[in-house]
Subunit: 337 residues, 2 copies
DNA sequence: TAAGTATATGAAAACGTTTGCGTAAGATTT
DNA sequence: AAATCTTACGCAAACGTTTTCATATACTTA
């Protein structure tokens, strides 16, 4: 358990500990022979630099904070996996925190990470109100938001074009003959969901069909919420031929409720989601949905953050990636009279 | 961006910075009036202690390293969520790394975390060989393994009783009338999977039925692997009436392959998994499986680790939790002649 | 009132690095 | 051979805390 430090190595090698440091960091101002000798001794003694001490003097931790609403959400865990791997390749480690969809907690963990002196923070915010709440804090450390569109705000973010994606989805259902499409899961506390609903409204207007929206009053879009919304909806007779969900998780909840009611998908009802989480692809689910390019989102976010860490003065940047339709088996064409 | 330090506060408050530190840490040897005054000034100036500097002197980071094979695996992401939340309540943050099922990478990230001076490490190892490879490293920092049974090794771990669980699963299928049960996904590089297979063998012996095992030569148990194994198996005529999988993810892959072949579950084939990941519960999947108590695993692991951090001298401890059968709709009773 | 005891505060060391600056020795130039 | 330049290394400061030890002040007590 006795940890070997620079001083220990220096004593053995018979040089000052500055020399050791230089040998290891590949500094040019050191003799080739001593470098080799020192490195050998370091290996023999099992010396590993103390990252904490290094951070102290270098004023840089090489740690990136990641705040997600909930890591056990397939969309976020996929993204986290991408982020962690790429970050490590760039020499950074990830400190991960759940905000648990709680704005107060989100603020708290943000402060925690600031106190930890992380070099930057990537966050998937609880909702659009997060920005105001964190205004003073994001000034203290480079921050990049993922998912939440902040086009009008002086913030860095990367997201998918939610409006275009949902509009495309609506048009796809229309092209299959659907005229009575229920939009399920609109939320007000999230710009993402506002924009997605916009896409639906835009399409309705363009296609001259009547919008029909079932709102989600909860703060999150989970399987459970989708189940409950759909269950309540299915209690009454309904005339929609398709349901378009604000998120795949919601759609999976709808499948559950439909299953219990004996409503077959896609025979009796067409269903679409948004996000393209891994499990949507499984044949028993086989959800037609809109893909969010998770790897590209992760890479863009990290690149953006790293860039900001290097040059904090650069103006805020915004990246919007294109979503794409993923056609599977949860929708069917119907005759439109 | 100018960060305010103890010295800055001290200057404003007109006291030494030792006093500030004491006021904030709740030390008793300080006047009540100065404490209040100092705290007020700290708040006004927006002072937050530098955790790196604190770690330096306290020789403790309050960071726990978590190494998982892959964070985007529902079992691990659920566990990670539990761990992060509980750890934070205990005053720790989580540094998360993927080993990507690669023993070499696993070793590398372990060293990385040691260099970061994390207070302890929780890891879900790639396989049983991880122990040997990391022997020297686990001596450097308190480590707790999750999932992998190391009953014979001088290590700390918490796991579920894999053998009992799989035996129970086999007996359940037997009780439904199944006599020809394929065990799919046995692996050699993981003690967990060895023990699960043992459970199957034990039950076969006890019930006097012929064991029938399809091995998994890959290093991981993913949906993809399950799909491929089952697909190959379904190419030939087969006589099994049930398939028992070493993991839920494998079973989901089997569902996919069965679906493509027009094999209905449970009508044509009964199917069981192990782990009880969230998605197994969804009606279209509705997998009968064996539950691993993820919250309890997480809590036990962290308690064990925290205990070891406090008292590194304590002997290694091992906790084995009980799995439980979760009966859903992927199995049916058949007449046994 | 003198001596002793609490109590509140300050000074300074320590944690393990990186790095700017100084310098001795060796190499190069004239 | 003297002067200059390079090279290789050591010294010591700095990073921002916590904490031990010393000390000054105020408060008891005889």
């Amino acid at each position: 358990m006795a940890v070997v430090t620079l001083k220990d190595v220096a004593k053995v090698a018979g040089v000052s500990y500055a020399t050791i440091s230089r040998a290891l960091s590949g500094s040019p101002e050191i003799g080739e022979s001593t470098r080799k000798r020192v490195i050998k001794i370091c290996e023999e003694m099992g010396y590993t630099p103390n990252a904490v001490a290094r951070s102290m003097v270098m004023k840089r931790t090489n740690i990136i904070g990641l705040i997600v609403t909930s890591i056990d959400n397939p969309f976020m865990s996929e993204m986290t996996a991408h982020l962690e791997i790429y970050a490590r390749q760039c020499g950074y480690n990830l400190m991960v925190c759940n905000s648990s969809y709680d704005p107060a907690l989100e603020k708290e963990v943000f402060s925690l990470l600031v106190g930890r002196k992380v070099d930057g923070i990537i966050m998937i915010p609880v909702g659009s109100e997060s920005y105001d709440a964190l205004k003073t804090q994001t000034a203290q450390v480079p921050t990049v938001f993922i998912g939440e569109n902040m086009m009008d705000l002086p913030e860095n973010f990367v997201s998918v074009d939610n409006t275009a994606g949902m509009q495309q989805a609506t048009e796809y259902l229309y092209s299959l003959g659907h005229r009575n499409i229920l939009y399920l899961g609109a939320r007000d506390n999230s710009m993402t969901h506002k924009l997605r609903a916009d896409g639906y409204y835009n399409a309705c207007k363009k296609l001259r069909i009547e919008p029909n929206v079932l709102r989600n009053s909860s703060a999150r879009s989970s399987v459970q919420v989708g189940y409950e919304l759909a269950k309540a909806h299915f209690e009454q007779p309904f005339s929609e031929t398709a349901i378009l969900c604000a998120a795949d998780t919601l759609a999976i909840g709808v499948i559950q409720a439909a299953y219990e009611k004996g409503i077959r998908i896609p025979e009796d009802l067409s269903l679409m989601g948004f996000d393209n989480i891994t499990f949507s692809a499984l044949p028993p689910i086989s959800l037609t949905t809109v893909n969010q390019p998770k790897l590209e989102l992760a890479v863009s976010a990290l690149d953006m953050l790293l860039n900001r860490i290097k040059r904090p003065e650069t103006p805020h940047t915004k990246t919007i990636l294109s979503p794409s339709l993923v056609i599977r088996n949860s929708c069917r064409a119907i005759g439109n009279n």
